[in-house]
Subunit: 343 residues, 2 copies
DNA sequence: GTTGGCACTCTGTGCCTGCGAGTGCCAAGT
DNA sequence: ACTTGGCACTCGCAGGCACAGAGTGCCAAC
């Protein structure tokens, strides 16, 4: 019994099962794959694979189905990411480079990935925490209310309205707002979030005492925006693709849809990738922490210009998915997004 | 045969069917509803109702199920929106008033509505077209690139980066940007979109000829933002509730999920409401234009401060839904949102 | 116009059977 | 020490059948 052939059998089983979504038997295997041995031998190998926990028979006398562990071995040792065709690559590039906006980039990317893989695509917005401040804008919007706009190096914009407790609409107010704007930008512009937040502390000294309440309100709100690195947004597309897979296999949609709604869960999913830029992470079925996703697999990659990691994108589908193709799609799209974000 | 009683029978059928989701027979009806007549009489009435197309028997000798037309009659003539309890109302108010942000308001609203009704909730962002300009900000972000930020009266922010074809980073550039900012705001601030866009045309005259290309680029981009009233965003929540209903009834999820992904479809759904602020619109099953939604019903209402209509919210569920309760929830939430957006 | 009764028509369920796919194991071959 | 062919065995699944139950439609009587 060669270890090598046994793994070849596993590979064949995974490939066939992904194609047909039906348990695959020894005979069917021989028809589609030139293994050079007889059905009986394959059966012996299958028995061993089952003992190792890599495949599993739904009932006595049905074909075999890969287990999560089986897919794991397949992904780690038996498959290689198959590169996309030239045509696909240029189509991707064309589609993505048409984007006008950060929102638009994100939007196009998830849709692209969803169509490309016919599965659910997820993308994390370029993370605030890892970005720097490009500009801060203050705008009086009537009465004591002030709008803060924070423009991030990635092109993302965060805004918040706050009440400074004093009417700013007069000329005095305008002057104060202008001075604030200048000082705030001088301290924060171009710096990464953590640093910018720290430097804002020294700002108070530059203003007369009677203006301190206003300055403090503004600085406080800005610190919140910067430090809190709040709600990292996630966008997804292709949910309807879930219905398709639901059709031909027992995948209860409820828990999965719930997971997709809970952005915290999604962020964990995408966030937990290694620091390595080019690595593709695959989480398979029971490997998931979140219970509702135990019947799905997720393929993720990080993106960002150069070695910097701004966020992650990924694809979610049934454990029975075409891993090589999906991994290729995710990797390629991640690369193009990185390029586009590179300014 | 009194018309009145026949409708009472219809009402009873709808109520029972909504509760049990099983075809309701004449005998079962008598047990739960005091109609004061015998089963045979009910059967006669049912036969007539069926002739009118208001109910329908899945097979000979199963109970009856309301048709879409039946639901229509029920909604229009047989039900009244049942007001929410005091406790519910104050819970809603508390939850919504905790919002800090426009994004947050929208987010909380959809989630609230989804939980309240256990169905899918949809909300249209306060529409740009019906809003006015609060402020426009121009920010040079290095080289020839300029960021436009449009702040809308509802608190929404739209931004776009554009290339003006000339380096703005020097002192000259700063001056130009400042003048542009001042002029643009003078023309557009406080005006509704259409008007603001029109007035921007006269701007060119205020600048020396050599600056015209830059001014034109900026004005062009602004016009696009204002006029194009592009992508009106829609947010939804509660998708996982679809799985529940899928469980106990034949509702193929695929087309519905597809519809939910196509924001254009959703906008149509919500947008097509009468101009009347307080009206609740109900579209039932086959009344939908979009085919994928033919097995669902949608309850929508408009919102906005005073008589102004800023957008719509709605709930989507199976035709077999609790219309009075859903309508009550939608209406109440719409009112609170209007209040919150009022200031 | 209402009621009770009766025959009829369905569906859903449980049970049995036969079929076929696929396995496990064994004994023989290389 | 593997590999191979053969054979008995095990299940799941589809089809056929009878049976019970729910519900209707219709009719004759009130």
């Amino acid at each position: 019994m060669s270890e090598e052939r046994r793994l070849a059998v596993l590979r064949a089983i995974v490939q066939d099962y992904v194609r047909t979504s039906e348990p695959v038997g020894s005979k069917a295997l021989l028809e589609r794959h030139a293994l050079g041995v007889s059905a009986a031998t394959v059966r012996n190998d299958m028995a061993l694979l089952e003992e190792e926990g890599l495949i599993h028979a739904p009932h006595t006398s049905a074909g075999r189905v890969p287990t999560d562990a089986g897919y794991r071995v397949f992904v780690d040792r038996l498959s290689q990411v198959k590169p996309l065709s030239r045509a696909e690559r240029s189509a991707i590039e064309a589609f993505l480079s048409g984007a006008v906006d950060l929102d638009d980039i994100v939007d196009r990317t998830v849709h692209l990935l969803a169509t490309l893989t016919s599965q659910v695509a997820v993308m994390q917005y370029p993370s605030l925490a890892r970005s720097s401040v490009r500009h801060i804008e203050l705008v009086g919007i009537g009465g004591p209310r002030l709008m803060l706009v924070l423009i991030v190096s990635t092109g993302r914009v965060e805004q918040r309205v706050l009440d400074v407790g004093r009417d700013l609409s007069g000329l005095d107010g305008d002057g104060l707002v202008s001075r604030l704007r200048a000082h705030v930008n001088a301290e924060a512009c171009g710096r990464p979030f953590g640093e910018a937040a720290a430097r804002l502390d020294h700002l108070l000294a530059a203003f007369p005492t009677e203006e301190h309440p206003v300055v403090e309100a503004v600085v406080g709100a800005l610190r919140e925006l910067l430090v809190e690195q709040r709600e990292e947004r996630v966008v997804l597309a292709g949910t309807s693709n879930l219905a398709r897979v639901h059709g031909d296999f027992t995948l209860s949609l409820g828990p999965v849809l719930e997971a997709l709604e809970q952005h915290v869960v999604l962020l964990r999913l995408i966030g937990h990738l290694g620091s390595d830029q080019d690595a593709i992470a695959v989480r398979i079925g029971s490997e998931h922490e979140y219970e509702g996703l135990r019947s799905t697999s997720v393929v993720t990659a990080g993106y960002g210009p150069g070695a910097e990691l701004l966020g992650g994108i990924g694809v979610l589908g049934p454990t029975r998915m075409d891993y090589p193709a999906t991994m290729a799609a995710v990797r390629t799209v991640a690369r193009y997004v990185s390029e586009i974000l590179a300014p």
